[in-house]
Symmetry: C2
Subunit: 307 residues, 2 copies
């Protein structure tokens, strides 16, 4: 079980040469997702040598420009590179119309199957599932319809304790799958050998929650509870608490409060307003109530491995 | 009379860290225009320290992504910076719908008056005029509706030859404007003093023609004739002449042929396909028939001053 998150951009609003808007490249359980896609994301992917072809699914939190203006360019580039594999895009209602209109007016199409999954629910819902990962929305409280996303690894099978199993010659290879699935073994005499004796539990699953942009919003706590990694926006510091409230953003202290109440293992901050020059102030403010916190920085990689 | 052209991007199709899509910042006769606006243009403007606030008019050649995907982000940034002065955008029909849709779905507006001037004519037309500059379209031959643009300085007034004028005490200060406008002076005895005697001609006006993207298209020659500076796309070399024809682009030789037949003073090449690594091959190919040619390069500045 492994999770690797590369920050492609973690600044709010206007892109600058040193401050790229939100985008993250998430590798989890050997699956790759792109989360948000501000202007210049495709250049950032190239800069950090992250493979375009691995991205099969893109999640867009909301339709403010600093979270999706790079999407049309990325899709166009996929097509120019003659991509063949399908691409799925999850985002708010309207995202399909924006992309379709631009392809219509350019009288061009895409080289691959492009599927939109438009989100409208205000309740957390399962939106993506494959054999390795599930993704749920984390409805947020922003000026427009916005979702965060919760990525959860699916549990692996239990591990066979061969040194124990070998003591029972009646357990055959064809029984192994049942044991991996957690079933007890029933001997011919009716005696039950508990699965706990014959197997070890799989490594714990990893969970990553991405929450941007949002007001301080306690409704998300049950959804993001105890995740291994929480990205929570911190556009402002407490000195601009009123502005945060007005613009429906969070302060670093508020992000840390959510992390603390949600008992998450680690918090990462981002979406910094361009008014701040010293990002360590965000770290200090958050650390005042929650210890395991780090700043997201462009190009920074966060890795977790459970074995 | 002066012209300063800064190349913000001169590569075709997909942006890369070293290859920015088309955009040019033109300062002509103390007026500033942005021509095309590929993804990342706003970052390029910042990189080269070019003032956002000076841009009052943007010209978009066509609706292929590498020429306009940066426009929505630039407009958004203008608004985030609380721009108040109006912005005029000239481009193909449809451009307003693309921008409007994205602002509608983000439930945001712009802080300044935003005016679209959608182009549909297939004939060259005067689309912009102020006291210093006129701009005409240069209809091109591409896969979709595409215009180049011809920027022409307006002539300055004639210069008074004070050493001559002082010999005629009857010429008063209130007569000067007529002389600057080219009128002869009529003495009280009816004698005509020719304007040529009393004034010198103003410096010659400068003309810049921007032509991207287009097939080899001789129809543009009468429009761009004798311009001081011609930017003509050269996506390919002659080795890909057939591909150029098929995709409705030009080779460096074809660009040079247009420059030669149009008797322009200087040609600059650009919009290079990513398949080429050695751009000097473009220069060599063009120079085989037209001597005064240069490569456009990201960040390069072309200046002309007429005094």
């Amino acid at each position: 079980m492994s999770l690797k998150l590369t920050i492609l951009g973690c600044h709010s609003a206007t892109p600058r040469s040193f401050a790229h808007p939100t985008s993250q490249y998430l590798e989890i359980n050997n699956n790759t997702f792109l989360i948000d896609c501000g202007e210049g994301t495709q250049s950032q992917l190239r800069k950090y040598k992250l493979k375009f072809s691995k991205i099969k699914t893109i999640f867009i939190s909301h339709l403010h420009g600093d979270h999706f203006f790079g999407l049309i360019g990325l899709i166009s580039t996929f097509s120019l590179l003659n991509r063949q594999t399908e691409l799925h895009i999850y985002g708010p209602k309207g995202i399909k119309e924006i992309i379709d209109l631009q392809f219509k007016l350019s009288k061009s199409g895409v080289s691959f199957p492009l599927h939109f999954h438009e989100l409208v629910s205000k309740e957390s819902e399962l939106i993506y599932e494959d054999s390795k990962v599930t993704v749920y929305t984390v409805p947020l409280s922003h000026r427009i319809y916005t979702n965060g996303f919760l990525f959860k690894e699916k549990p692996k099978e239990r591990k066979l304790r061969m040194e124990v199993i070998s003591k029972f010659p009646e357990i055959e290879i064809c029984d192994y799958q049942n044991l991996k699935n957690g079933k007890d073994f029933i001997r011919s005499n009716g005696e039950i050998i508990s699965n706990d004796e014959l197997t070890l539990p799989p490594p714990p699953v990893l969970k990553y929650a991405f929450c941007s942009d949002t007001n301080y919003f306690e409704d998300i706590i049950p959804i993001i509870k105890k995740v291994d990694l929480l990205y929570h926006e911190s556009t402002f510091l407490e000195d601009k608490k009123e502005l945060a409230k007005k613009t429906k953003h969070s302060t670093a202290l508020q992000a840390a409060t959510i992390a603390k109440k949600g008992k998450v293992k680690k918090l990462i901050l981002g979406h910094y307003s361009s008014r701040y020059k010293d990002f360590n102030l965000f770290l200090q403010e958050a650390k005042s109530i929650f210890d395991n916190v780090e700043l997201s920085e462009t190009g920074k990689v966060f890795s977790i491995v459970n074995t």
